[in-house]
Symmetry: D2
Subunit: 310 residues, 4 copies
């Protein structure tokens, strides 16, 4: 290829953006203008199962495409992707990591849309047996209003910081879902308009909302679907381990100072085990220690034992 001596200098305006080594990288994406999108495509309120299933399917595809991701957590129109602190993908360049995650997520979300927002009730990826589902007709995407997402990368130095970040998102999920469930019950079942519902919920605590749901609408919040209450966790699934034997994982991982030098054969066997692992979507409590202690591979980054039945 010829050189371009005259214009070549413009290359030097690109500034490096590598993220600090030995820190957990979280790329969080958020739906852009989803209020408008939800209205246009008639998302069900307070939760549209098809939309959440589609988010989860797109997140699974991202985790599948980028094996450096150890875990993803999603709620509503946001998803957080966690890269292990030893990750060297794209030399840890922020723009590359963020844009790749956002683009891959968007590509799958748009491509899979027809499989989730469709008319038939019994096939494909979407599973629409929601009792009050009024969206059985196919809902094709209509440009220019397509679903899009923005993103950002944030570094967390320690396991505790990472877990606190994820706990923050899951507590947010709970707070928002309890609010929204009550808000929409007041409207859909109680006949209030949004202004009245907002007014009614002003200053209420969790217990008050639970009480409104139960006393007025016979809804026991605890029986709401786990996906709505807890959000969704995506990860590679291995055999669970006895938590007692792994209580020191976080300290060991924090103590890990640099990406370990692994033999080529070990690296290849790790990659194989990662590809063989099933990527699962679950709706679990990720705040408590138990989730982490039973799945030490999430923090160590070392693939676990593949279950027998696979």
């Amino acid at each position: 290829m010829l050189i371009q001596p005259r214009y070549e200098y413009v290359r030097h305006f690109e500034q490096p953006d590598q993220l600090l080594p030995n820190t957990w990288i979280v790329v969080r994406i958020d739906g852009r203008g989803f209020t408008k999108l939800c209205a246009k495509y008639a998302f069900e309120k307070p939760n549209d199962k098809r939309a959440l299933d589609l988010m989860n399917a797109a997140a699974k595809a991202v985790v599948d495409a980028l094996p450096d991701i150890v875990l993803a957590y999603g709620v509503s129109d946001e998803y957080s992707f966690v890269f292990h602190k030893t990750c060297q993908l794209f030399e840890r360049r922020s723009s590359k990591l963020v844009s790749t995650v956002v683009s891959t997520f968007t590509a799958f979300y748009v491509h899979l849309w027809p499989a989730f927002f469709r008319g038939d009730l019994d096939g494909g990826g979407g599973d629409d047996n929601n009792s009050n589902n009024m969206n059985n007709a196919a809902v094709p995407l209509q440009p220019p209003l397509l679903p899009t997402f923005d993103g950002r990368a944030v570094c967390y130095p320690s396991v505790q910081n990472l877990r606190d970040y994820l706990s923050w998102r899951q507590v947010d999920c709970h707070i928002n879902n309890l609010y929204n469930t009550t808000f929409w019950a007041l409207i859909q079942k109680g006949g209030l308009d949004p202004v009245e519902a907002t007014e009614q919920l002003k200053g209420t605590f969790s217990a008050d909302k639970n009480e409104i749901l139960f006393a007025r609408f016979q809804i026991n919040y605890n029986n709401e679907p786990e996906m709505y209450k807890k959000g969704s966790v995506v990860f590679r699934d291995y055999e669970l381990v006895d938590p007692a034997s792994h209580s020191a994982t976080a300290a060991a991982v924090d103590n890990l100072a640099a990406p370990p030098v692994v033999s080529k054969s070990k690296a290849e066997s790790d990659t194989k085990r990662r590809h063989k692992a099933r990527i699962t979507v679950e709706h679990l409590d990720i705040i408590k220690d138990d989730f982490w202690e039973r799945r030490p591979w999430l923090l160590t980054g070392q693939p676990g034992t593949l279950p027998k039945q696979l």
Copy 2:
């Protein structure tokens, strides 16, 4: 919304990434792994008109969605989007700008794919009357190999820097296209294999390649389609002006120190004129002054005069 005193602190790990004020922002996106993608979806070589038309359609949608973009330039599987130096979109945060452009581009690329990569010859967005088109059959996207893009933002302080950046991309387009046209002629018409073709082109200059094309394959490179030779420029179209009257535009724009304070009515009328303007895709020389001097609105950021016929 309730506060989360325990986890709230994790917010402070997000670091600011605003780009320097009063500089031109270029967000460039690049296809990820397009060699593999081209192979899987049987892109024509050296140029696949359907794929380029689809790139241009997605770029138009991005320019339409983000009025702060004054111009976009695309070649092959890359596209550069230029935000005016006074742009305040997303407070000039790099991650937001990059991820929004990448996500919007990806969403339209994936959504419009079936309209461009399809079997019938006479409908929709793609215009496939390429003489040696062997891809008339529909080519549905097949996950997990979906088209995705990465991106980055770069700042250019002066008009000259910005124009040099764009000239660099257009010179690159020319160099690569001349090479590829000759390379694939040697293979497709000359019967060489890729190794032989590479060998034959080693050390050749432009004149040599032109000569090979003409003498051996009766191809006059000058008659190749403009889109292949010059790439594609996307911008809002207004009435062209007499270049003589605008020779000082660049200096005036460089001299512009801060976003001007405009009255609300002026801002609204500007927005209207921007929305009324047709977004055009052309294949022009953007290296020479003429392109810029006849379209002063590209550098001033002020909408021009809407053509009568619209």
Copy 3:
């Protein structure tokens, strides 16, 4: 030198901090805790000529040590050093530029202190013939309270941005000096205490302060020393030019896209002329065009004509 395979990895935690090319770099330093320092070393109020002369001497030494600096502007305990936009010193690394300026300034400030804050009236660097000077006794520095400075680097993309930055500092100088001159006149000559003086000046405009000074203390603010009213500008001095011939300098400089490639002999002759030039400290209006148009070398970065008499 031996390699340290075990610990060597820690090098990768240092993150790049190059400043955007083709922008003016201003390193501004500010005295740390100078309120306390002024009290301890009995600085005269509202202006201590010895302290300002010392600031200027230290700034001259910085400009002398770093020929990439085209101009410095100082007021009170702050100084701004302007590096030309083509500057490549330390690869434009922010930390290196800031720390070098701050360290050099501090070294000279501390080293020269005894020459400026001393007992005798007729020698050396300080020129203490201030009428109400009550500090004729030597004032040795007494650790731990030594004068120190912090600093930061800021980039300005265009000549207008740079000039607006400097104008901002000079307007600040004027506003603060008029206030302080009036404030201390009320105290030193009017017998007010600081609280009363503050109260008296609350809500006053410039005209009011001029009036207080003149009517009550027979001080014509216009006759105050230029150094107090305008601050100090430090630059290499060449023959002034006819401003008419250089009205287009700013546009030409903005248009300069990349550091020009200069022959080795031209570079050497430039360096010689820079070293021969006298570094001057003046108290001029740097807001108006005249200052810049008569000294085109400040913006072009090209050394001017050395005056005959040198």
Copy 4:
């Protein structure tokens, strides 16, 4: 103060530079052009005790001025200052931290110079009873060649990263000092010129250098002064603790996720104990665990027990 609507906008060009929370901040300073400085002021080779004592005195002053520094380590003309990972000084802004450390260090280095580089043998800060000291005459600083330093800030996420950084510097100290001691013995005692000495040491290992020193110059490297072999560590001194009781300190500190909220009275008592603590300069092995386990306050950031005798 009046507002400056016209120029005020230039404030927005300053870009934020806060360092990632919950990471150890190391500000390292390095002498600028010390080869030239050593030559001009006739520093003794391979080590000038006066210069090292002056470095240590300046470092002590920095640690004294900035209580957020938990430890400093110096060798030759460089010094590393470690701020605790919970440090909030200057909102963790990199420029402020770096420039403050560099300026304070420079101020003390220049101010204390006469006390360390002086003619008399029995007074002040310097302790010059070096056998072959040929610098007994006072060595005043002569501008423009004053000692100056540059600096940079680097973040380390974990205790292990921080300790590995410091180990890296101490191993470097050892390697360089062994080399320099042998190199200068070959010149000063062996009569070689620098080129010959360099040649002789090419490809030698540590054992070879030890052997040269012992066999040819009767120098047992182990008997060289600790300051030369190990560098200098500066820290607040409290009562040493039994290492057995603190083996888990590093894990506990890594696990610390955010600056702890402390009561005002606890904060005040901590500050008092910090101020009462003696700042000590020692020449110890900081690579081994023992140093850290006996001084848990270095990692916890919590002041230890003040020794009785103070």
